[in-house]
């Protein structure tokens, strides 16, 4: 029996290793549904999932929508540009209006860290954080762990290198939390201007060059430079960035011969990753996307139970 004590999924930080394993195990079961002739089970029939996205997204929004539909929930998508916030309504007002229509789960993405936690306090529905500013992106970390576990058979004891713009990356934060809880050794690397002050406190080994992070790594996670999250330039230009921090065939040789290469997307080909690597045999980037649907099904299943689970 699966006991799950959380009503909201706001971040990985508050989950235990056991919670993570529960979600990963369930995700593996849900993965099978994608291979059925009818890719749908009736589990969440009659439940309503609202995808409230105040930031652009194709992958995550589509993934949550497909996950909800494969569980027979009704999924409604609201994007920031189409919402009343452009008319001056606050986030909480928008969410409370939606909540008044009795959805069971609200999946929220917002540019502000803490947006999901704020909504969780103010609405009755379960809140699933689909990315809040540079804070957390828990389902991405879960699907990353699911991908690693599928390819490596385990997470504990692996060396995982996360490279690029660490400061502005909610994926990096959630990944560090999840990977550390599951027992991996996490190394982060990036230009000093893109390395946050507290990365070491989260349990990651911090490097200002990419080579020591890649040395003997089992898993490499490349991150995009999130230019939209900073005003003044934090590195000279993309060509120089690519020369020092881009993943290419030569740098990949420093990793273990069976290392896998991951990227949460969107990918900037030729900047943080050489197209030959992105399309090469070591890349599992599209597998991450496939597993994302199964992980989000597991999350909606576990968090869609309302008060029965609390």
């Amino acid at each position: 029996m699966t006991a799950f004590a959380h009503k909201h999924l706001l971040g990985v930080e508050t989950l235990s290793a056991e919670d993570l394993t529960t979600i990963l195990d369930l995700g593996e079961r849900f993965g099978e549904i994608a291979s059925r002739p009818i890719k749908k089970v009736p589990t969440l029939r009659g439940k309503t999932v609202v995808n409230l996205f105040f930031e652009p997204s194709t992958r995550t929004r589509t993934s949550f929508e497909i996950a909800a539909k494969r569980l027979s929930a009704d999924a409604i998508n609201i994007s920031g540009s189409a919402s009343s916030t452009v008319k001056g309504e606050t986030l909480v007002d928008t969410a409370q209006n939606i909540d008044a229509m009795s959805p069971d789960i609200v999946v929220v993405r917002h540019a502000q860290a803490g947006a999901a936690a704020l909504l969780a306090k103010r609405i009755r529905a379960s809140v699933v954080n689909a990315g809040d500013g540079a804070h957390e992106h828990p389902t991405q970390a879960l699907l990353d762990c699911s991908t690693i576990r599928a390819h490596k058979g385990k997470v504990a004891g692996l060396k995982v290198a996360i490279c690029g713009d660490i400061t502005h990356s909610r994926v990096a934060r959630s990944d560090i939390f999840a990977l550390r809880k599951l027992g991996a050794e996490v190394h982060v690397a990036g230009p000093r201007t893109l390395l946050p002050a507290g990365a070491a406190e989260l349990g990651a080994v911090v490097h200002d060059r990419i080579e020591p992070a890649l040395d003997g790594a089992d898993v490499v996670i490349m991150l995009r430079i999130q230019k939209e999250r900073f005003g003044t330039p934090l590195f000279p230009n993309t060509r120089e960035y690519s020369r020092y921090f881009g993943l290419n065939a030569r740098r990949l040789e420093a990793c273990r011969p069976d290392a896998i290469v991951m990227h949460p997307g969107p990918m900037n080909r030729g900047v943080e990753i050489d197209p030959a690597i992105a399309d090469g045999p070591r890349a599992v980037i599209l597998d991450q996307v496939a597993r994302g649907v199964a992980i989000r099904m597991a999350v909606l299943y576990l968090f869609g139970g309302g008060e029965a689970e609390s």
Binding site: M1, R29, E32, P37, V41, G304, G305
Partner: protein, 193 residues
């Protein structure tokens, strides 16, 4: 409200319905009946066990049918009904979800659902919904080791190992060697307080 099954600790054994020899005898008879009644209708019998108890019993029946050598080797599959239950969000702990494995298409086949205990019929209703998502069998039959009555849906078994009258407070437990227990079927009731 769904009926919460009483916790194991609150139950005491009242009588044994089947011992190991009895279970072996009953399964052998069921295998013969399966061969006789559906074993000669074209394709091999497709036994589909309902996880977890029914899946073990389906595997045993498949072996017995194969050993009889009287009919094509049966196909063996298993369904997990966790995602098709009608009480997923009614306060019960969420069950572990096992894989559904149907190694051959069920389209046009004679499918025999196998379960350990037939009670309300809700599990079988859910199992039929799972099958419906995989294709359209020619026919679906139901084989159960124990029919304990008290149905809540219009579902009846085609092959029955043992039928017993029970009350709602009682519990029928099938112990199987596949789970590391001696083969037995016992009727239990709530400990007098």
């Amino acid at each position: 409200m769904p009926r919460l099954p009483p916790p194991d600790a609150d139950l005491i054994e009242r009588r044994e319905i089947l011992d190991a020899a009895g279970m072996a005898r009953v399964l052998k008879r069921m295998a013969y009946e399966l061969v006789e009644r559906v074993g000669h209708e074209g394709d091999a019998i497709y036994l589909v066990g309902v996880r977890t108890g029914g899946a073990y019993l389906a595997a045993r029946l498949a072996e017995l049918i194969r050993a009889s050598g009287d009919t094509p080797r049966p196909t063996l599959g298993a369904v997990d009904i966790s995602l098709y239950r009608d009480d997923v969000f009614r306060g019960l702990p969420k069950p572990e979800i096992g894989p559904t494995e149907l190694p051959e298409p069920i389209e046009g086949r004679m499918v025999v659902l196998v379960d350990d205990v037939l009670y309300t019929g809700r599990t079988i209703r859910a199992a039929m919904d799972v099958l419906g998502d995989y294709g359209r069998p020619r026919a679906v039959k139901l084989a159960v080791l124990v029919d304990r009555g008290r149905r809540e849906l219009p579902i009846q078994p085609d092959f029955v190992g043992a039928a017993v009258q029970t009350t709602a407070g009682e519990s029928v437990r099938v112990l199987l060697k596949e789970r590391g227990e001696p083969d037995r079927v016992v009727l239990r009731e709530r400990r007098p307080s």
